[in-house]
């Protein structure tokens, strides 16, 4: 029983990170129809920000706080300069964002010098409930994710910005005709998605070693989650992320770890193939 609770807790922590990454990717995909292949590298940038602040003796905290802001700004600049040219051609957009990802990844690899860096948890240690130890940092990740999900939901469902975003999502032409600047809205949305990726990167870096290649793994998993959950909904990607996160962290206990990752991909791909609309059919936010 104890083991089961620990296990569930670990899966929950990993799933939370996936949800953060996927939320950003999903928002961008539903809103602009663009699958951002540089999303994994935005996660990497978030992680790198924490590393920089840790390296300069500031400790990890300033980095964790700065990461969403920095990556959000990067996202904003990318959208205004490059991404906005691609809205008419989603497949070309894929190539373009992949190129951006490649550039970011290789620059970071150059800066890291090809080494793996590890960063200590900003709050280390554990607390115990009922004789069980729980890592504080992982609990912090779970709590942050819950706050972010609640915040995003409130933003989308309860504010006038959210109303405009939903309007632009439903019918961009009509939204423009009503005087909503969809261009600015898209830039804002992209920056928001990027900021979420940055935050996710900052939160996970103490759990994983920092290397230039962490992005691509999260990219693949996040994509599967978005497709699994269904594009164009808010709950879909969150559910998809939970499913992929649970599989990715659960399967290594059942089958050989080497086989686990590919197996997750195959299962998820097969599911998407059979049910392309995902868990939740599109059409509402």
């Amino acid at each position: 029983m104890d083991f089961a609770i620990k296990f569930a807790f670990d899966i929950l922590a990993f799933t939370s990170v996936m949800v953060l990454i996927v939320l950003g990717l999903g928002v961008i995909a539903s809103m602009m129809g663009i699958f951002n292949f540089a999303h994994g590298e935005l996660v990497l940038l978030g992680a790198y920000t924490v590393y920089l602040s840790d390296e300069h003796g500031l400790g990890a905290w300033p980095g964790v706080i700065a990461a969403p802001v920095v990556v959000g700004l990067v996202g904003f600049v990318l959208e205004r300069t490059i991404i906005k040219r691609f809205y008419a051609t989603p497949i070309i957009a894929m190539l373009g964002t992949y190129a951006i990802g490649l550039i970011i990844r290789e620059i970071v690899r150059g800066l890291l010098g090809g080494h793996y860096k590890s960063i200590p948890e900003p709050i280390s240690g554990a607390f115990s409930v009922g004789g069980l130890d729980f890592s504080i940092w992982r609990s912090f990740i779970i709590a942050t994710t819950l706050v972010v999900i609640a915040g995003s939901w409130l933003l989308l469902a309860r504010t006038s910005i959210g109303l405009r975003v939903r309007g632009a999502l439903e019918n961009p032409m009509l939204a423009r005709a009503c005087g909503i600047s969809t261009g600015r809205l898209y830039a804002f949305t992209f920056a928001f998605g990027a900021a979420l990726a940055g935050l996710a990167g900052a939160l996970i870096v103490p759990l994983y070693q920092l290397s230039a290649d962490i992005g691509i793994r999260f990219l693949v998993q996040a994509f599967l989650s978005v497709m699994l959950g269904g594009v164009g909904t808010f709950e879909g990607p969150v559910l998809g992320a939970s499913a992929v996160g649970a599989m990715a962290s659960g399967l290594p206990w059942v089958v050989l770890p080497v086989l686990a990752d590919p197996l997750v991909f195959v299962i998820a791909l097969a599911f998407v193939r059979l049910r392309p609309q995902g868990f939740i059919a599109a059409g509402r936010v």
Binding site: F35, I82, R85, P90, I91, I92, M94, L95, G96, Y98, A99, I100, L102, I103, E106, I107, R109, G110, I216, V220, F223, L224, M227, P257, V258, L259, D261, P262, F265, V266, L269, A270, V272, R273, P276
Partner: protein, 346 residues
């Protein structure tokens, strides 16, 4: 693409034909250079090796071009077929002691083709047509999963890959790096090029051109577009397999990175840089990028950031020059090409 397929079909008369001259000229010039290479460079062994690499990787670039430029499948998985075939010939050499090129190269093509066909059946065929994003992403996932799998599999050398691959042989003659190997690779390239050229100019090529213009409309005409895509994808897989086998033999080594998204992306860059949608484009793109990489590799500062430069090249091409280098000299009208049996003018 500006002109429509309809106007390509309606082509007739000497005037229209005269405007179709740039591509054959480029093709002939490239052929002349490639044939001349062993004679000009016979003194410089390292340049022969470089050119052999260019020829072998051109095959990979062509295989990507058949998918993207000709049938609209954004494949991030060409390296999967390339790498699997490379591992296959390495294993056949290691465990069976067999490396006769008349046996292993067709085997590699078969492996690449079958694997591509299987992936195509999974990704493309079925009651519902998949979105192109899903297909692109499926190929990327396939390549990524394969790289992870191979990197953890002891039988195929795990992360270290397989080295000291048994040399490719014909009878008792063994091919090492050099002019002889170059000739084999060039022969393979010429055969593949001729076959691909025939394919994309056949009636099937016409269907592909129609699909590029308006896939939905063609589907309404009754063409099962996904089947055509799957066929071309499988053919491209065969070419990638051949390329991978030659590459393994030439390098004497194969590793997990030969299977992964990294090499797949490199193939994408070769093709787009040279000019997708033409067959000679990928060859020129491969040559340009590999030669540039060779020239720049001497400077340490540049070598470290070479992948960054590649990324910038890809971004610039995608944003400003989607037709690649060839798009500068070849008109949109000529890129579409001509199809079927040449008939006399009315």
């Amino acid at each position: 693409m500006g002109a429509t397929v309809g106007s390509a079909l309606g082509r007739a008369g000497p005037r229209a034909r005269r405007s179709l001259r740039v591509l054959p000229a480029v093709e002939l010039a490239t052929l002349a250079v490639l044939v001349a290479v062993p004679f000009i460079l016979s003194e410089r062994a390292e340049l022969i090796t470089l050119m052999t690499n260019v020829v072998i990787l051109s095959l990979l670039a062509i295989s990507f071009d058949l998918c993207w430029g000709f049938s609209g499948i954004m494949s991030f998985g060409q390296a999967l077929f390339f790498g699997v075939a490379g591992y296959l010939v390495a294993l056949v050499g290691r465990d069976l002691g067999f490396s006769q090129l008349w046996g292993t190269l067709p085997l590699a093509m078969l492996a690449g083709g079958v694997l591509a066909a299987a992936l195509a059946v999974f990704l493309l065929l079925g009651r519902r047509a998949p979105t192109s994003i899903f297909v692109a992403f499926g190929t990327l996932t396939g390549a990524y999963a394969a790289e992870r799998l191979v990197a953890g599999w002891q039988y195929v050398g795990a992360g270290n890959g397989l080295s000291a691959i048994k040399l490719m042989a014909f009878g008792s003659y063994e091919f090492v790096e050099g002019v002889e190997f170059y000739s084999v690779a060039l022969t393979a390239l010429l055969l593949v090029y001729a076959a691909s050229r025939w394919l994309v100019r056949s009636q099937l090529g016409l269907v592909l051109a129609g699909m590029r213009q308006n896939e939905e409309r063609l589907a309404f005409f009754g063409y099962r577009v996904q089947v055509f895509k799957a066929l071309v994808f499988s053919f491209a897989g065969m070419i990638a397999g051949l390329s991978g086998a030659l590459y393994s033999y030439h390098q004497g080594f194969t590793g997990p990175s030969n299977l992964g998204p990294g090499l797949s992306t490199t193939a994408v860059i070769y093709c787009l840089f040279g000019g997708s949608g033409t067959l000679i484009g990928p060859v020129l793109g491969t040559a340009a990028i590999e030669l540039l990489s060779y020239v720049l590799a001497d400077t340490d500062a540049i070598r470290q950031f070479w992948p960054v430069i590649l990324g910038i090249v890809l971004l610039v091409v995608v944003m400003f020059q989607p037709t690649g280098l060839l798009g500068l000299v070849v008109s949109a009208r000529e890129r579409i090409g001509s199809f079927g049996v040449r008939r006399r003018a009315r």
